[in-house]
């Protein structure tokens, strides 16, 4: 049974991708998946060698055919997105891809072709295989692309006999986040000791509870404000999420990032590196326990 750990944070910039990259350096037989397709950054550290590139067609878009249009205006009445301009051309950015105009145009003057709105990649890195994607700028359907990269990561894990996927999730609590967590084995929430960090951790913890996925918390830069860090621990406790690690503020993270390295490649001997090793051990233990249960079920099935 392939396990999937999804790393999210609610708030952006808490160090999700940097920590995930460091964790990836500590584990073998795993696949990395960058599900932050909207602003994917993991590749900047992993420097992936792309094996294959695939177009992602997440939806359709309305395209008006001027020669057939009688300018009756029905489409403009129907369109909830105000995407049809006065001259009956279509504003691609505003178009939601619902197809109502194309479906109902009495002159059939609107085409509704599939649209390529991003790409996903299968790659190799110095830390193993990686699935990642890039959503076209200003595109819709990031949730669908997230689901796509996770599906591919799972497929490759199964083919190669790997038992773990580590997924870098998007910020927020909306569509792409929901798409990145459904069916995950566990969620790692990377928080920071600020009012925003606590507030946003609370919202993603609620989201985990809503979808009944076990969550654990890592406090990054915990020493920037120890009072706030204690508040995070209290809040996590109230919401039944164990705090599995506390990582200090360390300018090595930025220096490593500038060099395109994980923290371990930049400075393996540091105290922060030890902290991350501890964090990984705690995460592994929690993933192991859930694997135990699912393995029994899995064995039953393959019998």
């Amino acid at each position: 049974m392939v396990k999937e750990l999804v790393v999210i944070s609610g708030k952006g910039g808490t160090g999700k991708t940097t920590l995930m990259a460091a964790l990836s350096a500590l584990s073998n037989d795993k696949i990395m998946c960058d599900a932050d397709v909207d602003a994917a950054d993991l590749h900047l550290i992993m420097n992936p060698a792309i094996i294959s590139t695939h177009d992602f067609q997440g939806g359709r878009i309305a395209v008006s055919k001027k020669e057939l249009c009688t300018e009756c205006g029905y489409c403009r009445e129907l369109c909830k997105w105000h995407a049809i301009r006065d001259d009956f051309t279509i504003d691609e950015i505003a178009c939601e891809g619902c197809g109502v105009c194309a479906y109902l145009c009495p002159e059939k003057a609107i085409d509704f072709p599939l649209k390529t709105c991003g790409q996903w990649f299968e790659s190799d890195t110095r830390f193993g295989p990686m699935i990642h994607a890039s959503l076209g700028v200003a595109e819709e359907n990031s949730g669908k692309l997230v689901a796509q990269v996770r599906k591919e990561a799972k497929r490759i894990a199964e083919v190669k006999g790997f038992d773990l996927i580590i997924t870098d999730g998007p910020p927020g609590v909306g569509c792409p986040v929901i798409a990145s967590m459904s069916g995950a084995t566990a969620i790692l929430i990377v928080s920071e000791p600020t009012v925003s960090g606590i507030h946003d951790m609370g919202r993603v913890l609620e989201l985990c509870r809503h979808f009944q996925i076990p969550a654990m918390v890592c406090i990054n830069k915990f020493d920037l404000n120890e009072t706030m860090s204690s508040k995070i621990e209290e809040k996590a406790k109230v919401m039944n999420a164990p705090v599995v690690g506390k990582i200090p503020f360390d300018s090595d993270f930025t220096k490593a990032m500038v060099k395109g390295q994980t923290l371990f490649e930049y400075n393996q001997a540091s105290k922060t590196s030890r902290g991350i090793e501890m964090l990984w051990q705690h995460i592994r233990e929690r993933l192991e326990t859930s694997r135990g249960k699912q393995n029994i079920i899995f064995k039953e099935i393959i019998k």
């Binding site: 991708t17 602003a39 619902c98 910020p171 929901i178 600020t194 507030h199 609620e206 500038v258």
Partner: protein, 285 residues
Amino acid sequence: MIVSIASGKGGTGKTTIATNLAISLERDVQLMDCDVEEPNAHLFIYPEIEKSLAVSVLVPKVDLKKCNFCKKCMDICQFNAITVVKSNVLTFPLLCHSCDGCRIVCPEQAIDMTEREIGMIDMGRKDHMVFLNGRLNIGEAMAPPLIRSVKTHIRKDMPVIIDAPPGTSCPVIAAMKDTDFVLLVTEPTPFGLHDLKLAVSAIKILDIPCGLVINRSDIGDDKVRAFADQEGVPILMEIPFDRRIAESYAIGEPFVNRMPEWKSKFVQLYKDIETKVNGREKKGA
């Protein structure tokens, strides 16, 4: 003038800039938090909330007594939000984009649209600031309708500052659309630069003038500056890493309160933006 504050990458300091700018202006200003998935501006402003409005979207409700199971609703729906299974019709409100297509095509008029709450708008005041924020309900997927709904409250009689969500897809576009200027906030790191490039391309598509604030300007490297030069994006402010700013941020204190010498810099920032927007309007006319 409506200024949206965006970044591509999260955690670069959008909320810090939006809140400190609004405070520093010391005149009537509307501060609108459109990062509805994780709204944070209120944690720094402490507004007195005067009212909260529920925001709903319209989703289909099927009257099975009228339905003839012709599947036309299922055919038109691009979002798999309505499915006909034998003699039942299932709807998936989380996937619904409220396009109204199913209701319109239904030959039996078996579909009605009903309201479903997706979030709240909080409205209030603090000193000279008119404060609004959107809060997406936990478990809801669709931020753009709520963002658009917050933006219907934009006032024309005062400056408007919009705190946008991170990223470059639909929620950010919804927040930046129809604003007069996008103020981008980045940090000079490889992640900051990469996501800034994406944000700049998004703004180009929308054809809105933009400028840049470089936060923690003395960490990382010089590549963000080189990129800004090359793209002709003016750098309007640089904020060096300062432990006092980080400490203020941690406890929910706008740093201009602790370091009032920054107020005039924010006022100047606003003036610079105004000059750029007016210059562009004149050029356009």
